[in-house]
Symmetry: C2
Subunit: 282 residues, 2 copies
């Protein structure tokens, strides 16, 4: 891998910043907001920032760059797809619990739901994230989608994944702004009490985490190399031409779906598709 | 151009959404917030959202995709660089006036400055934007930077430009959230009065505008083609190898900077550099 040292330094920085964000959200909740519970009080709402930072930012960020980790290049693409989808599924579950905690708190206290820009964009981001995961599994993990469809949808999958990730971070920043204005009163947010400084720093760390992830995922020379992929698959008995099809759950459908599978056109299509597969995380 | 119709449809959508954002910010200010003035009142602050939406979002967005417009491919790269830098300079001037209006309003009303996450991240974005413009002009427009340095810095220029653009939109969303919470009281934001619905829609449009610009700029087949570039430059008497150097203000320094300019190594370097030049806007 080119620039291996730089990649490791960036990965360590991203992990450190992401981990620090989770720790700060815990400190915020336990030191300033009364801790956690599930009783309709503001302590139930406290699950919301913790689970969002942990699931929707940190775990989603790791899921985005998981194909880039050079020590995973000896693993099959199929295994990596399971890890990518698995991490996103864990994140989705945490996000759903986080949303339920916010709605529960609002309902228990007769606060209106879904009036703020934070809630509008946040709900759109969650719906898009669930759709992205559903279509990602249906098209790229399960063996039913034809090669042509996969190749056509891969750029959209990558773009929408990164756009959702960026939108999630923007939504966190709105949530932090709302929460600090509403919950700080004596002294208020405008007097910059220690809680305000701490949580502003959390917002800054989320932006830095997002920027690090987007840098790592958009460097072409840090992509999972095609050669390694083919080598691994040859090792388990697949033909190099079937590379991407083999890395789905089974290759039966991918092979059957195109009657031209032994032609030059099919070979070119496989190359395009393999290329698309490499861009799973941009 | 591949998918010319789709590009035009996306461009028209982006322009429509961007224009609608500017119009909605004007409606917000004139219908609900008392219009504009420069007297320390809240009407002075009203310049802030209008100029930010107009300059930091709409004009910056257009500056990002200006190299993609197919009817500009017959223009020299140098002219396009001037337009790219010019649009960003206009945006920067509008942003500085917008910031002054906010500080002026705060000072005139004894409101603290720089306490909110919006102000922290907003100021960082403005500083990064000014640095991006300064280094962009110094390295890519003026003829002093050697070819090797330009090629090395181009991916950073593209990445930081797009990251700043995304961060600016996130900062706008925080600003909208703050302003609606502070300025709506009877009925409050939580009762979703018409102003809240209108300005939430403005926030949504800003996200859609950002998403459209990022899609257009990240499609590799919509990049300004190298052939056209070389053809134009041949037409004005330059050699194809000097493509990128010719597109700076003069090519004298670029040619002198590397004694190997007639070697195979220099040819490869020029190709790399030309490639980098094509990625000015990702």
């Amino acid at each position: 891998m080119e620039d291996y040292g730089r990649f490791l330094a960036l990965l360590a920085s991203a992990l450190l910043v992401g981990f620090a964000s989770v720790v700060i959200s815990l400190v915020w909740v336990f030191q300033y907001r009364g801790g956690l519970s599930w009783d309709g009080s503001s302590r139930e709402f406290n699950w919301h920032p913790i689970l969002i930072v942990m699931g929707f930012v940190f775990i989603q960020g790791i899921a985005i760059i998981v194909y880039r980790l050079p020590w995973t290049w000896k693993c099959s693409k199929l295994l990596m797809k399971f890890i990518h989808a698995g991490l996103n599924t864990i994140a989705m579950i945490l996000v759903i619990i986080a949303i339920v905690s916010a709605f529960d708190f609002h309902n228990a206290n007769n606060n209106p739901n879904m009036y703020s820009l934070h809630s509008w964009i946040g709900l759109i981001a969650v719906i898009c994230y669930c759709l992205q995961l559903f279509f990602g599994v249906a098209v790229f993990l399960l063996p039913y989608a034809p090669v042509r469809l996969r190749a056509a949808l891969m750029p959209i999958h990558v773009y929408s994944g990164l756009t959702i990730f960026g939108t999630v971070i923007a939504t966190c920043l709105m949530g932090i702004t709302e929460k600090l204005i509403f919950s700080l009163s004596n002294p208020p947010y405008s007097q910059s009490p220690p809680e305000a400084i701490l949580v502003n720093c959390l917002g800054l760390l989320l932006v830095i985490f997002g920027a690090l992830i987007l840098w790592m995922v958009s460097r072409p020379h840090w992509k999972r190399p095609r050669e390694e992929n083919a080598k691994t698959l040859r090792h388990i008995g697949a033909t190099p031409e079937g590379t991407e099809a083999e890395s789905t759950m089974t290759n039966s459908n991918a092979d059957k779906s195109d009657p031209r599978s032994n032609t030059e056109a099919a070979r070119k299509q496989n190359i395009t598709f393999d290329e698309a597969g490499q861009r799973t995380t941009m």
